[in-house]
């Protein structure tokens, strides 16, 4: 058959970068309303951060505590990345807590009991994670059993295997190198007086990269005659994001420097953010979750995609397992208990839909951060564990209720 590549876009007469300065809408009302679903969650995060800053007399925003939040919740955020993809595809994964435990346990056995180098433990954990993912993927994609059942079985199965691998006892401690994964910092590489210049540099590079990429997107959109925000608003958005990132880097630089986990997390968010939005695989995940039959009849290899969704979840569970075991400096039989629920909650608070087809990695990250800031804030305030659980449950409920309300309103407006 013939394959005709669509001809490239017509070049607009005005040079694109110059046009970028002028074109666009600046009506903030339109922009906010159009992005209510997305912006709503950011607003919620800001409100919650402000609330706890107030309630803890600013303690929650101290450099040390911000570092703590990153270290404490990184593994939940890693899980939430995989979970939101699973949920977009129309599935669920209840097993990730057990897989975190199993991968950590295998790593601990290899490194602590058998005395292998730290990286052998990391590779072993990743291999186990991939194998677990392939196991789930096989049953979900090729046998056709609902993921709820498969991963519920997996939750029991892999918890049991964890106990066997560990012979029912905890293993610790890891060698220093392994411990550095979660507890390590990149600090003092470039010096600085009372703060870490390297952290600021990385922050600066991140901001610059963000601005450049946004600008290029903007120019491309204008060249393709797509609507963009006004230039003033664009600059304001860049300044806001840049300000927040640099403030965050500043705080880290005044504590212990740049945590290694943060680098891992940032890389994962970047890669998976692009993977979901910009790759054929990512788009097919949305298609499957949105309408399975239509995806199938559009030539999407549904089984293959479903399989890899779970392999990926297994991989990220292993990453979380490594970080968690490293942070707790050992492996415990009960590790990772209930992590799946935190990860699922993060995805849903972040705007994912129970029915599939909707959700974003960034949303899940914000959702996870909302939970993290709340838990951390309540810990600082000395709120009882039981109350923390009550509050988290209510927040999940309110977040999804808000989402449902929003959708109904949107549906009503369009009749």
């Amino acid at each position: 058959m013939t394959s005709t590549k669509p001809s490239s876009a017509e070049k607009s007469t005005e040079s694109a970068p110059a046009a970028a300065l002028h074109a666009g809408t600046s009506d903030p009302r339109t922009l906010i309303l159009n992005n209510l679903r997305q912006s709503g969650i950011f607003v919620a995060l800001v409100v919650i951060v402000a609330l706890f800053a107030f309630l803890t007399d600013g303690l929650s925003l101290s450099p040390g505590n911000i570092t703590n939040i990153v270290l404490q919740y990184s593994y939940i955020l890693v899980l939430a990345i995989g979970m939101v993809i699973v949920i977009i595809g129309g599935h669920i994964d209840l097993s990730v807590g057990s897989v975190v435990a199993l991968t950590g346990a295998v790593s601990a056995v290899v490194v602590i009991r058998q005395g292998q180098p730290w990286w052998v433990g990391v590779l072993a954990a990743l291999a186990v994670g991939l194998a677990v993912g392939a196991w789930h993927g096989f049953w979900v994609a090729y046998v056709g059993i609902p993921a709820f059942i498969v991963t519920l079985a997996g939750m029991l199965l892999f918890r049991g295997l964890t106990l066997r691998v560990l012979d029912n006892i905890s293993l610790s401690p890891f060698p220093t190198e392994y411990n550095q994964i979660a507890a390590g910092f990149l600090n003092g590489l470039l010096g600085g007086d009372g703060f870490d210049a390297f952290t600021l540099l990385i922050g600066g590079i991140a901001v610059a990269g963000y601005v450049v990429s946004c600008f290029r997107t903007r120019v491309a959109r204008i060249r393709y005659q797509q609507p963009v925000e006004s230039f003033v608003l664009f600059v304001a958005r860049m300044a806001l994001v840049g300000g927040v990132v640099m403030w965050f880097a500043w705080q880290l630089a005044h504590a212990r420097g740049l945590p290694i986990v943060l680098i891992i997390l940032a890389a994962l968010v970047l890669v998976y953010g692009l993977l979901t939005r910009r790759t054929v695989f990512g788009r097919q995940v949305y298609a499957i979750g949105g309408n399975l039959s239509a995806a199938m009849l559009s030539g999407v290899k549904v089984r293959t995609v479903n399989f890899w969704i779970f392999v990926n979840m297994g991989f990220l569970s292993a990453v979380a397992g490594i970080i968690f075991s490293s942070r707790s400096n050992g492996a415990q039989p009960a590790a990772g208990n209930m992590f799946e629920l935190d990860a699922i909650a993060a995805a849903f608070i972040g705007g994912a839909a129970v029915t599939g087809g909707v959700g974003t990695v960034v949303g899940a990250m914000v959702g996870g951060l909302i939970m993290a800031v709340m838990s951390n804030g309540m810990q600082i305030m000395g709120v009882d564990q039981s109350m923390q659980s009550v509050v988290k449950g209510l927040v999940l409920l309110v977040a999804v209720a808000f989402d449902v309300y929003n959708k109904r309103r949107a549906a009503g407006a369009s009749r």
Partner: protein, 512 residues
């Protein structure tokens, strides 16, 4: 002085930013069948929602008089208690409950103890079924009935509520000719029993044959009220009211100039996925470049099954037979293989099988040909936007932008998105399964024009349709299918509806 059972006066309903209804007038005489017609988006459904109380009194302006008194319904229960029952296009039956349970759902027949009186429930259900001419056991689960019979169950359910005014939204849209005729007969009988009917329909031949009067809506306004019984109301007359202009013809003209053979199917046999019977039995057909070939057949004849099994074996099992593209035998064992061989199939049920309704136009248009936009697995989203914009312009898809959510578009525009999606895969042969089902006259004409443009570009098109006039108007040759077998192929010049019906009804005993 006419006796009006229902008068809706100066109904205005606005949604944020849009006036869905503007001073609409509707008057329905007691005991008549009144048709409401209008293009999609003309406000028919909104008007019925106002009438049935889905939009409660106070959320619209205007006055409703029912049975001689002003009414203000606050919900469906209010309107049903007065005897107004609406049957929606998407049937609202619970699949795994029995016919009787469905009929009395929310209105259960209880004994003195407060428990359900099953004898009474089933006996009354049996009576109601008899009155609508449905010969089924009331304890049969609804899931075992076809769409036509489910429709009758809905009507029986309405009758159980002592209905005075029955509203049917597109009642025959999903029915084949036999079931449609049966339903229309039933409506006539209900009229004799004094039940007033409002019927929303796109099928103008039904309106002219059954309705006593009709109200035409356009863009949320009443255009006119026509008395069908007074005669002189032709389909063309109604169309003129609906679209506000004369359509020269239902079907745009086209020069038939078939070229080389594109697709040939030989000895195609397909077994039902779960039951032990053949749904397609030794079917052979071919289609040439620049040619439109029709497939006619009654419901259950195996039309969709034939098309879907050809399209990457997406239906059935034990499929045997040969496929040739441009004279060379091909393998199309998966949808992806079928697409890469230049076959496209636009489904009869676009909402369930054709579109991702929660996603935007852009994603839907690119979904079948995404790899064309990708390099090493990365999608060029600007190019994707451009492709979608081009489709929006060429197909005249009415939407504010390509980022609009497809679920909010009208049926005709959704169908154009489906066509755009398949055209982007650059197929050599397009199989269009009921391409104009549930879309209005104006959009139908546009779809026909698009099809003609495609064949002029040298594509081959296969149209599967339940509407024989559509096949006669669009195709160059028509195959008839009966019980999975090809029973004939008729050049359009020799074809008449009667001749096709005869071939479609031939050999109706199940095979295999």
């Amino acid at each position: 002085m006419d006796d009006y059972i229902l008068e809706m006066r100066r109904i205005t309903k606005t949604f944020p930013g849009v006036a869905a209804l503007q001073d609409v007038e509707l008057a329905v005489r007691r005991g008549e069948i009144h048709a409401i017609c209008g293009e999609n988006g003309a406000g028919k459904s909104t008007l019925m929602k106002v009438l049935s109380g889905v939009y409660p009194s106070g959320s619209y302006e205007g006055e409703i008089r029912f049975d001689g008194a002003p009414v203000d319904f606050r919900g469906i229960r209010d309107s049903e208690s007065r005897g107004i029952v609406i049957i929606h296009q998407e049937l609202a039956l619970v699949p795994y409950l029995s016919i009787a349970e469905n009929i009395f759902l929310g209105n259960e027949r209880r004994g003195r103890s407060g428990l359900i009186d099953w004898n009474r429930t089933n006996a009354e259900a049996a009576e109601l079924l008899a009155s609508v001419g449905l010969h089924e056991n009331p304890v049969t689960p609804v899931v075992q009935l076809g769409v036509g019979k489910q429709q009758l169950v809905e009507i029986a359910k309405a009758l159980s509520k002592k209905v005075k005014l029955l509203i049917l939204d597109e009642p025959t849209a999903a029915l084949n000719d036999v079931d449609s005729a049966h339903l229309l007969d039933l409506m006539r009988r209900l009229r004799e029993q004094g039940i007033t009917c409002i019927m929303i329909s796109h099928k103008l031949n039904e309106i002219t044959s059954i309705a006593d009067s009709t109200t035409v809506l356009r863009d949320g306004r009443t255009v006119e009220r026509l008395d069908v019984t007074a005669g002189e109301v032709t389909q063309e007359r109604i169309i003129r009211g609906m679209v506000g202009r004369d359509l020269n013809s239902f079907y745009p003209d086209r020069v038939c100039a078939p070229g080389e053979e594109v697709l040939r199917i030989e000895d195609w046999t397909v077994r039902h996925p779960t039951q032990d019977r053949l749904v397609v039995d030794g079917a052979s057909l071919d289609v040439r470049a620049g040619e439109v070939v029709g497939i006619a057949g009654l419901m259950g004849a195996g039309r969709t099954e034939l098309a879907m099994s050809v399209f990457g074996r997406s239906y059935g099992r034990d499929i045997s037979g040969r496929l040739y593209m441009h004279g060379k035998e091909i393998r199309a064992r998966t949808v992806a293989e079928a697409i890469s061989n230049g076959i496209a199939y636009a489904t009869e049920d676009r909402k369930r099988f054709g579109l991702n309704l929660i996603d935007n136009i852009r994603s839907n248009v690119s979904s079948a040909g995404l790899r064309r936009l990708a390099r090493f697995g990365w999608v060029d989203d600007n190019e994707e936007t451009r492709v979608a914009e081009t489709s929006r312009r060429d197909m005249n898809i009415k939407a504010p932008s390509v980022m609009s959510v497809v679920g909010k578009l009208s049926g005709g525009n959704q169908q154009k998105v489906v066509l755009s999606k398949w055209l982007f895969t650059d197929p050599d042969v397009l199989i269009l399964d009921e391409p104009t089902r549930g879309i209005d006259v104006g959009a139908k004409y546009e779809i026909y024009t698009i099809v003609n443009r495609l064949v002029a570009d040298g594509k081959a098109v296969i149209i599967i349709s339940s509407e024989l006039p559509e096949l006669l108007g669009m195709c160059d040759r028509i195959y008839t299918l009966s019980a999975g077998r090809i029973t004939g192929v008729v050049p359009v010049g020799e074809a008449t509806q009667e001749k096709l019906m005869e071939l479609m009804a031939k050999d109706k005993e199940p095979v295999g």
